[in-house]
Subunit: 287 residues, 2 copies
């Protein structure tokens, strides 16, 4: 960062020959979060994680982010402080400074973030390269965010769970030539597999038993009388990476070692129409 | 633009050795605009102008912008289309493509834009360099936006007026070494002069008769029984550039020729405390 908050605009300096990567995302009170079931700090942290995850999916490193905070006059200064504190915790953790801000009055609270990142020229990892036959893999485990949300809805338990933006994993994946496409899972596995494949006339054939899940997930779902498959396949906001790999190598164990986190193979890319079972048809759940 | 809307993030490509400039601004229904007194197209255009103006004040050229649109479910598709059409008219005019978007539900409509621009490394024009004795100049004329707002408040006339982002003027000013500081006038002349000077222990001594105004401005104000000076000094959203120039050259006529638009000298930078008349004290109207 060359010039931060306080001028008409911020000035950021990518390295020589880098492209600039930009993504924007909004979190609205009552739609994406509630003050009643989560600390303001967690809400702030989660807002930046959601945006950093988009950089991760493009293999970009963060340069900075801007925040537009809209809030009703009656929002307490303490809540504002805690939201900001949460944002700044994640900002420090991932070297993504707040470089611009805007505050405006509104009837409900919302945080609109835009993250700016950088990636070596032409090396951004895109959604675009998958072909039929590619293996489909995910980082980490799915379902934890949806489970926390279901738990708070049924028992009133506060949401403490917080996803991790897979910035390092994305950067490593971009250097593996067999990786043909990548997306972060924000809307849910099936929906985001659709985003990755549907526009290319492709679908996903997913082995639901292979979808990685948190420890004691089935028991937790049973206690809440929830179908675990639904959380695994449709639950969003885990911010793991879903990616396609062409050919038999690198193996899952090689991928795990290189990414430094869990990686699971969960299915295959198939031609649309050939898909069966938990597969994703073109346009399916496409927003 | 290398990758536009449709992937996890957009990819933009600055020229070799350019810095990246980022600014964010939100327009909220009922706070910054009303559907009743302005076409949706004008609201959309104005939203992008406000953001482009921040790039202009930094001497940056636009690379692209992101839009987070929050809207209640009952907002008609026609209004959404017209808002977008307005944004895209300005986007085409100033070569600033829409590169990312986010739509979310909210109780009122708001448009949060983030513009990304580029400027030769280390050459961004900042707020930071003014010294006592510098001449204060503005581009164009002030008061038109405030007059349109006053007119709609009193007579119900629709707002058709639309400011121009001074992108070319900003780029030229950055190449004139005598120009020491620059800001765009979004909050009003006195307020923005305060933003330019107050943190440096400086103030502005402004000759109110020298503030450039639209043709027949006094008569229009008289018809509405409004103090013209108030609109000139405190009216915002004209998005002209206010800048400081060290020394006697370039002359106003040279500045006019180089910028290709009207330029007026309206006062001087003075030490805080020495200011009198319409001057701006440190912290005065600082938000």
């Amino acid at each position: 960062m060359v010039i931060g908050i306080g001028d008409d605009a911020a000035v950021l300096r990518p390295r020589a020959g880098e492209d600039v990567v930009v993504s924007t995302d909004a979190m609205v009170e009552g739609v994406h979060f509630r003050f009643e079931n989560q600390s303001c700090r967690n809400i702030g942290r989660r807002a930046l994680v959601a945006n950093l995850s988009d950089l991760a999916a493009m293999a970009a490193r963060p340069l900075g982010f801007t925040l537009a905070l809209a809030a009703p006059a009656e929002l307490s200064l303490r809540r504002v402080d805690d939201l900001l504190a949460g944002l700044l915790i994640e900002a420090a953790e991932y070297a993504c400074p707040l470089v611009g801000g805007n505050v405006s009055a509104a009837r409900e609270t919302s945080l609109t973030l835009t993250v700016i990142g950088a990636v070596a020229r032409g090396r951004a990892l895109t959604r675009g390269g998958a072909r039929a036959g590619d293996r489909l893999c995910v980082t980490g485990r799915l379902g934890a965010a949806a489970l926390a949300l279901a738990k708070t809805a049924r028992t009133g338990a506060r949401i403490r769970q917080l996803p991790t933006p897979r910035l390092h994993a994305g950067a490593v994946l971009a250097r593996i030539s067999a990786v043909t496409a990548c997306i972060d899972i924000s809307d849910g596995l099936l929906a985001d597999a659709g985003h990755l494949l549907a526009s290319r006339g492709l679908a996903a054939s997913i082995d639901r038993a292979a979808v990685p899940r948190p420890a004691r997930f089935a028991a937790a779902c049973a206690r809440l009388a929830i179908d675990p498959d639904r959380l695994l396949l449709e639950g969003g906001e885990d911010y793991e990476l879903l990616f396609a790999v062409r050919g038999a190598t690198p193996s899952i164990s090689t991928l795990r070692r290189r990414l430094g986190i869990e990686v699971s193979e969960i299915g295959r890319v198939v031609p649309a129409g050939a898909a069966a079972g938990d597969s994703v048809a073109p346009g399916w759940r496409h927003f």
